[in-house]
């Protein structure tokens, strides 16, 4: 066990809200949705097992909504939202929450920015009042902006620049999207972060932070009626913005040529092969293709022991991998992504590992899907819904991410059934989306290997 503080765990937790998740076994009467007259959407998830509440506000404003040349401004403003308002002195926001025993934080993604507090259920009104306050009355000093810009540059150094795997992933994403802003990193390119100003932050804030661009999710030991009363009192008086329009981003042209990138770095020990494809996202009202894609990822690389890639590459007399995986991320406003990753053992080149991976996928697609394997995935997806009820935080994130990504409460509630309805034929049809022309393959190599 190492002495160092772990920092990565929080990320993983927040990005899994998607594919394999949904709410079938959450009794639907535990979830209530309504909209305030000023346009703010509200979702309440009742769970009275512990006297705790999670309060989240999601804005339909993510890095993919940024003006060109201002990458990182969504994330920068997220940081600056913890400075002051007309009612809360700079730096006191989190302190006031902590003084009530609560904790708070925030996150930024391509399609949304979210703020959350976790606190004793009887303090809900307090955090709601504070969140409502900073939706409209943020105050930023030049000094706060300058210091916080240094913080996010350090954050970028820590998350990306210090980790060759992250650097390559950032480059791969930029190669993945020819025109859509999903190719720009959430945290921003360093040279553009360095140029972000107080005016940029306030412009962003004025454009997107409004009740008619926000989704409130409250989960825990509350009733829908109580949340409605509190929300009407706290968020209800906020005026909507006139400028909130439909979210239109530049779309991708036909992707006609597969892309391949590689990078060698002295900090890399194990070569890694990754491939990602642009594939359809979960569509409102039409969950079938995304549900099938979820099975495809599970069957190909969901288990390090029984999936098709693991069986073909990690077992036998001459394994071509020590690690394999596949995943599908379908909760997105514009495009989903499907990914594959392989780490070969010593003595197996990335070229050979890639050939073995492609052979394994071709083999999987050329044969009927093993009915027992298919049934196991179905059973696990059903059970995941039962386990998910133990995590009201996770349920809150599930609804928030979906609603901020163009899906509806009904879409979230229909998802588990859609997963149970997937057929092997649908999975094979979904596999058509794995078109190499829409893919980026990246090789991460130790420096010594690259010089050979």
């Amino acid at each position: 066990m190492n002495a160092a503080v772990l920092r990565g765990a929080a990320l993983a937790g927040l990005m899994v809200v998607g594919a394999a998740a949904a709410a079938q076994t959450v009794p639907e009467d535990a979830v209530t949705a309504f909209t305030l007259p000023n346009g703010m959407e509200v979702v309440v998830i009742e769970d009275d097992r512990a006297p705790v509440v999670t309060h989240m506000v999601w804005y339909r404003a993510g890095s993919a909504d940024e003006p060109r040349g201002k990458s990182g401004i969504a994330h920068f403003l997220e940081h600056l939202m913890f400075k002051g308002t007309d009612e809360i002195p700079s730096g006191q926001f989190s302190e006031r929450i902590a003084a009530q025993g609560g904790s708070d934080n925030a996150f930024t993604s391509f399609d949304y920015t979210g703020y959350f507090q976790r606190i004793a259920a009887d303090r809900l009104d307090l955090v709601m009042a504070m969140e409502a306050d900073r939706m409209r009355d943020l105050i930023l000093s030049e000094e706060d902006v300058a210091t916080e810009r240094q913080v996010i540059l350090e954050e970028r150094s820590q998350r990306v620049d210090s980790d060759p795997g992250s650097v390559l992933q950032e480059q791969a994403r930029a190669a993945q999207f020819l025109n859509h802003p999903y190719g720009t990193p959430i945290i921003g390119w360093r040279h553009e972060i360095e140029g972000l100003t107080r005016a940029d932050a306030l412009d962003w804030y004025a454009r997107f932070y409004a009740p008619n661009n926000a989704i409130l999710v409250v989960a825990g030991d509350v009733t829908a009626d109580a949340v409605r009363r509190l929300a009407e009192a706290r968020y209800g008086p906020l005026a909507p913005s006139a400028g909130i329009g439909e979210r239109m981003r530049p779309s991708e042209p036909p992707q006609l040529a597969e892309r391949r990138i590689s990078m060698a770095d002295p900090r890399v020990s194990e070569p890694v092969l990754q491939r990602s494809y642009v594939v359809p996202a979960r569509e409102p009202g039409d969950p079938g293709p995304a549900a099938a894609m979820t099975y495809l990822a599970e069957l190909l690389g969901g288990s390090g022991t029984t999936s098709a890639l693991a069986r073909a590459m990690q077992f036998g007399a001459e394994p071509t991998a020590v690690y394999t995986s596949a995943w599908y991320d379908g909760v997105a406003l514009d495009y989903g992504s499907f990914g594959l990753a392989v780490v070969p053992p010593p003595g197996v080149t990335l070229e050979r590992a890639e050939a073995a991976m492609d052979a394994a996928i071709a083999d999987f697609l050329s044969k009927p899907i093993d009915p027992a394997a298919f049934e196991r995935v179905r059973t696990q997806l059903r059970a995941a819904e039962i386990y998910a009820r133990d995590d009201s935080d996770g349920l809150a994130r599930r609804y928030g991410a979906a609603l901020a990504s163009g899906l509806s409460v009904q879409d979230v509630q229909a998802w588990p059934e859609a997963l149970q309805a997937v057929t092997p034929e649908a999975v094979r049809a979904a596999a058509e989306a794995l078109d190499r022309r829409r893919s980026v393959t990246s090789w991460l190599m130790p420096e010594d290997e690259a010089s050979q």
């Binding site: 066990m1 997220e78 003084a99 820590q158 020990s269 288990s303």
Partner: protein, 442 residues
């Protein structure tokens, strides 16, 4: 991919509680003793049809026999790779068909088993877990496959600045004691492990004389007792002797490890206080004010909020079974390492000399007492807390008394304890990177 404002700091110690609601939760803890004599703490929670089960075996990777570093870790990685008449793929298929989830991991102090299974197939899931715990096959091909994974991890760790910093600190602190090296072993030691070593590690580490169990979820005390006997009764009564206390040997100063990166990773610390020290609560509060999880902690304020030197800095008490540390860490640009170290030393010295203010103490108490019940929010979380309380030797009603212990700490306690706990001259910094103007002092 999501960027987050701050890293979440791992909770290291269980803490106090707030008002009634938690009492309602905690009051429901029952001690169950199985017919065969296995003890467990139980919170029945029939609302969701599954059970979260946590099992800990004290000892962990510190039980590795001389020259067999990494044996317990490799064994832990192999438990699920075939048992009884099932090979690795057969076992995984059986587990997935039941939608049961088993996790096994080894730390320097324990081997931990976390399981979740549905009420509808509880018996079958328990039988499968029993097969893994009491009848693992350790097939030759599985040993080679998992060994390959461990070796790949070790090679990655050797080029990961965070892992390097932690391992160098541990080596400087504990030398040849198992705490002084990675429980994963070394490339050489792991390569040399045999199936017999793995078997010996299994017999030594998974025994009934060192077991702690908690269960939370859809199960009654009447059902849990026999289930424990079926699950764990087949394990040996006794295991390998626990290791001795670890003597702390690091001196104050700086160790620089060259690493090509724009940022340096810094790990720092000195000796701390054991969990059963009467001053532990005062030390815990002192740490909270100095470098705890809140943005208002002194180090966070000085390094991040005022100067933008880092994305995050935190300190924590680490009361392990065989030694106690007070540790901290941060990342900062190579150019600002010297400044960061100076600031940390200065804050250390300031609190050691002056203690804290009444306002800081009050705020820390409110936070610590108020945040405790928020942890008891899921079956899995409660099961984890309960098993941790047992390992620390705390009474079953501990949570009800916890707030009072926090509240009882006075400003004078803080001054006294900060003065002895915080020793800036003893702070040992390990810097992995290319820091400007900072060199090793020893």
């Amino acid at each position: 991919m999501i960027a987050i404002r701050s890293f979440l700091i791992a909770a290291l110690v269980a803490l106090p509680l707030l008002a009634q609601p938690l009492r309602a939760q905690i009051a429901a803890i029952e001690e169950v003793v199985s017919p065969g004599g296995i003890r467990a703490w139980l919170v029945p929670e029939p609302g969701i049809p599954f059970v979260a089960l946590e099992i800990r075996f004290r000892g962990g990777t510190s039980l590795d026999a001389p020259g067999r570093r990494g044996a317990v870790n490799l064994m832990t990685g192999l438990i699920e790779e075939g048992a009884g008449d099932l090979d690795a793929q057969g076992f995984a298929a059986a587990r997935d068909a039941l939608a049961a989830e088993f996790r096994f991991r080894a730390t320097a102090d324990d081997v931990a088993v976390s399981a979740r299974f549905l009420t509808e197939n509880r018996d079958a899931a328990v039988d499968l877990l029993r097969a893994a715990l009491t009848g693992p096959r350790f097939d030759a091909d599985a040993v080679e496959r998992v060994r390959g994974q461990v070796l790949a991890g070790l090679r990655s760790d050797a080029r990961d600045p965070r892992t390097i910093a932690g391992e160098v600190f541990d080596r400087d602190a504990f030398g040849d004691h198992p705490y002084g090296s990675s429980g994963d072993g070394t490339l050489d030691s792991v390569a040399a492990l045999t199936r017999d070593d793995v078997l010996a590690a299994w017999r030594g580490a998974l025994a009934r004389d060192r077991i702690y169990v908690s269960a939370v979820g859809d199960i009654t005390a009447e059902a849990l007792g026999p289930m424990l006997d079926r699950l764990l009764g087949g394990l040996p009564a006794t295991g390998a002797p626990l290791p001795p206390q670890a003597a702390y040997g690091a001196r104050g100063g700086v160790t620089v490890v060259d690493f090509p990166s724009p940022q340096s990773v810094i790990v720092f610390g000195h000796e701390g206080l054991p969990r059963d020290d009467p001053d532990f609560f005062a030390a815990f509060i002192a740490n909270e004010i100095l470098g705890g999880g809140r943005f208002s902690a002194r180090l966070m304020t000085e390094l991040r909020e005022r100067r933008g030197l880092t994305y995050g800095v935190a300190t924590y008490l680490m009361p392990r079974d065989r030694a106690a540390l007070m540790m901290g860490s941060l990342d900062t640009a190579n150019a600002t390492v010297a400044q960061a170290i100076d600031l940390i030393r200065a804050e250390w010295a300031r609190m050691a000399a002056e203690g804290v203010t009444q306002a800081e103490l009050d705020a820390a108490k409110t936070y610590l007492t108020g945040s405790y019940p928020l942890r008891f929010d899921s079956n899995a979380a409660i099961a984890n807390i309960l098993v941790g309380m047992q390992m620390e030797g705390l009474p079953i009603d501990y949570a009800q008394t916890r707030n009072a212990r926090i509240e009882a700490v006075t400003l004078e306690d803080l001054r006294r304890v900060a003065g002895s706990l915080l020793r800036p001259e003893d702070l040992h910094f390990v810097v992995v990177g290319r820091p400007e103007g900072v060199e090793s002092t020893n």
